[in-house]
Chain length 112, copies 2
Amino acid sequence: MHSGFARTPEPPYYAVIFTSQRTEDDHGYEAMAQAMFELALQQPGCHGAESARGIDGVGITVAYFADEHSIGAWKQNARHLVAQRLGKERWYSHYELRVAKVERAYAGPEGR
Amino acid sequence: MHSGFARTPEPPYYAVIFTSQRTEDDHGYEAMAQAMFELALQQPGCHGAESARGIDGVGITVAYFADEHSIGAWKQNARHLVAQRLGKERWYSHYELRVAKVERAYAGPEGR
């Protein structure tokens, strides 16, 4: 029903916030980004992910995990390690990655 | 130098993650979104914000705050309350708002 949204449980859980600025090197990026998004969703403990990128090349992806253990497992996933390396070498001119514990959550608009 | 990124301090601090799906009602949205982004940055305790919206209408804005008190003050800001009401009535078909405590953060790619 809300296809762009993660279906997260009641807090607490974790959010991995990845903000990035793309380079102009498009070689293989879209396919890899889509593959990694789908692979993340298959990780044990992943509650879902949300992603947006504007025409200025700034993108934000937030992936939600049950706990630190599942974040660590995703970080070390073999296919993800390849993507991380290519991201650093080719695709991102800058990124910020923040790990945060979600304490409360709301949805809306109510009643629409 | 990295204009799309918030210049956050060392953790801990808070992230307010707002994921939204836009309606097709554009009336006044862009101007209000820009005004609210700039107003948030002026709030005491706001460390910055990052925002992206794709052509599918899904957007993510993450605003970073020093503490719960500054989040509460922003939520109750008079101009922001007007924007929140219009957002619920007109601009968003769905949204998810999550408040999370940032525990650790990294930036990259190193050495580029």
